[in-house]
């Protein structure tokens, strides 16, 4: 029972953090709060028995993601202009969608219900059969690497592609950038030759 109340407290904390993210204008504060959000989410994952997810979220979501944001902020203005577009309409839209989703959510199985359909299909098989087959005690690692290896390979491809995209964008060897560079360099050359002719 205490587990349940800790969970209620932690997820309520997320709402407070999100509220302050919406209100804050300084970008560095927003980034710091999003790091705090990820860390709180990691605590929630530990409380809900998802230890592997928790340490991934703490390391990748709260660590690397925050570092990336801070690295980007070095090149960006300090504050946002705080101009909101269609605030009434978007609030209306989000309210309606949220209301419908909350009504639908009460059709879900109760939190922690052991007879929920999700726990009756393949999960028991993973828990019972994975150790005799592969001799790895951690079921999550086992499913990730043994049963769903292609899924993990696809994930690696996605990360590789994103990394390539970042490198291409930041080193500036996109098509339009190259054209721009050749254009400016030819401009410089013409300017230089103009100067030379003037000197002569």
């Amino acid at each position: 029972m205490i587990e349940l109340w800790v969970n209620v407290f932690l997820v309520s904390l997320l709402v407070i953090i999100t509220f302050y993210i919406m209100r804050l204008r300084r970008l560095i504060g927003i980034v710091a709060l999003s790091g705090a959000y990820s860390l709180t989410a990691a605590a929630i994952f530990v409380n809900m028995d998802a230890v592997d997810v928790a340490f991934t979220e703490a390391a990748v979501g709260s660590g690397i993601s925050t570092i990336l944001f801070l690295a980007a902020l070095r090149y960006l203005p300090v504050e946002e202009a705080h101009e909101t577009r269609y605030p009434v309409w978007s609030l209306f839209l989000c309210g309606i969608v949220g209301l419908m989703l909350i009504i639908a959510a009460f059709a879900l199985p109760e939190f922690g219900d052991p007879n929920a359909p999700a726990h009756l299909h393949v999960a028991p098989r993973y828990i019972e059969e994975s150790y005799p087959l592969f001799h790895i005690p951690n079921v999550v690692t086992n499913v990730l690497a043994s049963y769903r290896g292609f899924d993990t390979l696809g994930e690696t491809v996605v990360v590789f592609t994103a990394g390539l995209g970042v490198i291409i964008l930041l080193t500036g060897s996109t098509l339009s950038m190259r054209f721009k560079q050749t254009a400016t360099s030819s401009d410089n050359q013409t300017a230089k030759s103009d100067e030379e002719t003037r000197d002569a």
Binding site: V8, V15, A41, F69, S90
Partner: protein
Amino acid sequence: MSVNLIVLYWNYIIVIMLMMAGLYIIISNQNFIKKLVGLSIFQSSVFIFYISLGKVSGGTAPILTGIEDTVYSNPLPHVLILTAIVVGVATNALGLALVVRIQEAFKSIEEHKLLALKKEDGLKDIQIEVSKEDSAV
């Protein structure tokens, strides 16, 4: 009973609230960094939803202990979300690179300013430049 009902469905209600807050930030805020943070809030609300569905009350983490009659939480949502977290950070990195490039090229990362620039045909120059070079090549 009703208090119990609220506590048992509290996670789902909060997840939906966080999701809608993320959506609101993405739609109405104009700063691209704040939009990216809104996107990651939206994402992690889905993560919390999945992990909530995988929880079994009285269970422990799905690491086999060898003790009889231990109840384990569902490992499958954990696996799916593990993949999703890493992909989420990759998309975040790509988005940040785009934002840095936009700031470099247009000296602004506010959407309404960029739209105003486009209205003033500020973007036309670059397109013409590219097409000219294209024809030259």
